[in-house]
């Protein structure tokens, strides 16, 4: 089976004259976890949004398996994402929220949702509404959302936010398992330990520029 490859070449992006990404280059392939560290506002989330197709780059190319975002691809579908604060329909349970998204793809068998929720430590049968979820539970639900459709690429911005120590350990194992399944994982985190433990390559984003620091 072929591997997913994301090629980021000379990507720049600015907002109202402020350079947020400056000549960013990076190549990622499946079966690896790529860590991106950097201060708040350094451009990590913007880079992730550009890869997903939510934002268009000013110059340069982002290609996914040779297909250029914005030209050949409209949006990076079949990708698991957690970007910024996860949002849900607050009046529904966690399962119903995931089912809602799952059915958009016209998939009917909900066993995958059950499995994804169990893997992240949530009870799929619980009727508790998302508005009553703790921050950690919402984060776990976001991870289940990002993985329930067996997505090849996972783009995770601070996925450990709000998780307790045990939760962090569980999720680290979960992401390692995903890597061994051949998934391409891009992970942004402020937690150095997460990055050191999980990532095969580490990049640092500073003032819009990306430098490889490890791996």
């Amino acid at each position: 089976m072929g591997q997913c490859v994301i090629e980021i070449e000379h990507v720049s992006k600015s907002f109202k004259g402020m350079q947020v990404l400056n000549d960013v280059n990076m190549t990622c392939s499946g079966g690896n976890i790529y860590g991106i560290v950097g201060h708040n506002g350094s451009g990590k989330t913007v880079l992730f949004k550009c890869i997903c197709g939510f934002l268009r780059v000013d110059s340069g190319n982002i290609a996914i398996n040779g297909k250029v975002m914005g030209k050949d691809l409209d949006m990076l579908k079949h990708t698991g994402i957690i970007i910024e604060e996860p949002g849900y329909i607050r009046s529904l349970s966690g399962f119903r929220n995931l089912e809602y998204l799952y059915r958009i793809s016209n998939k009917k068998d909900t066993a995958a949702i059950h499995a994804a929720m169990l893997k992240v430590g949530l009870d799929p049968c619980a009727r508790k509404k998302v508005c009553n979820y703790s921050l950690g539970m919402r984060q776990r639900l976001a991870i289940a959302q990002a993985t329930m459709e067996d997505q090849e690429i996972l783009i995770l911005d601070e996925p450990m936010n709000g998780l307790d120590k045990e939760g962090v350990a569980e999720m680290r194992k979960f992401f390692s398992d995903q890597r061994s399944m051949g998934k391409l994982i891009l992970l942004a985190s402020h937690n150095k330990e997460d990055i050191e433990v999980l990532c095969d390559e580490v990049y640092e984003m500073s003032h819009g520029t990306l430098k490889k620091t490890a791996g």
Binding site: F54, K77, E85, G87
Partner: protein, 304 residues
């Protein structure tokens, strides 16, 4: 050199092309928009307002020992103050444009830009129809105790239209005898729902488009201005009234004024003009929305 497109992705793309039905997303998005606190509160308030408007009719019906036919909504929607309150509720129900809360991010990544845009446009239409249908049904429920199930206007409304009954019972809206002569109940109700649906859809699409091109505050303000314009039409010099009414779509929901003359001039433009103008307006808004979403940069905001 890039690696070949993975087998699993190819399969997923094919599945996407052949099986991922647009209808599925439409149904999901409609459910989300209908079964939410915003819609519940709008429908509840519209129900309360209709109740207040219906009380005198029920009283008149009991006093005159004469059943009230259920086709009262066209008269209600032709009342200036009711229409104002009704449309304020509609503007509120669309005030979450451009539907780009954090939760929508997960939808867009699954649907793609254009399918998402088409889904939202269709949902606005469906929501408009449902709001009109529910409001057309309310009087039938509120009059249930004194209802006369007939396809005619019934004696009560003719009496209230032609005598001083309206004043005696302090009716908050008028029954138009001319409209009863010109249209059958089903015709007028159908026309009300049709024009109402198109007007609400136009308002919703205009708000969506303006929120995409400018911002949400301007979209809501513009919609409120469109609603308030019905006061201008009502109070402007009679000779200028029809000319002004041609540019105020919300006023077209006052269907009992269709074909009625005031000072040798029709109070409303013709139905053909209304339908054509709404079709053009809706098409232009939908086109602008699609063009913008194709190119735009998505900025997500937190849930309210």
């Amino acid at each position: 050199m890039a690696a070949p497109w993975p087998c699993r992705h190819m399969a997923a793309e094919k599945e996407d092309m052949s099986r991922m039905l647009y209808g599925r997303f439409f149904r999901q998005a409609l459910t989300e928009r209908v079964f939410c606190s915003r819609t519940y509160s709008v429908v509840f308030l519209q129900g309360v307002i209709q109740y207040l408007y219906m009380c005198p009719v029920v009283r008149a019906s009991k006093d005159m020992e004469c059943g009230a036919s259920p086709w009262v909504f066209p008269f209600l929607s032709s009342n200036l103050f009711f229409l104002l309150l009704f449309m304020v509720g509609i503007v509120y129900s669309f005030s979450d444009v451009p539907f780009m809360q954090n939760k929508n991010m997960y939808q867009v990544i699954r649907t793609g830009r254009m399918r998402w845009a088409a889904g939202q446009i269709s949902v606005i239409f469906a929501q408009a129809f449902l709001l009109m249908a529910v409001n057309a049904l309310f009087p039938m429920l509120l009059l249930a105790g004194s209802c006369e199930y007939t396809l005619e206007w019934g004696k009560l409304y003719h009496t209230l239209a032609l005598t001083g009954g309206s004043e005696a019972y302090r009716l908050l809206f008028a029954f138009s005898y001319e409209a009863m002569q010109r249209f059958s109940p089903l015709e007028l109700l159908g026309l009300t729902v049709l024009i109402g649906t198109l007007v609400i859809a136009f308002v919703g699409l205009l708000m969506f488009a303006v929120s995409l091109y400018i911002n949400r505050s301007v979209a809501v303000t513009l919609a409120f201005l469109m609603v308030v314009m019905i006061y201008l039409v009502e109070n402007i010099h009679p000779l200028l009234r029809r000319g002004t009414a041609m540019f105020v779509p919300v006023n077209w929901m006052r269907v009992t004024q269709i074909g009625i003359k005031m000072h040798d001039s029709f109070m409303q433009p013709s139905v053909v003009y209304m339908l054509a103008a709404l079709a053009v307006g809706i098409t232009v808004c939908a086109g602008l929305i699609c063009i913008k979403i194709k190119r735009m940069e998505f900025q997500w905001y937190k849930e309210e």
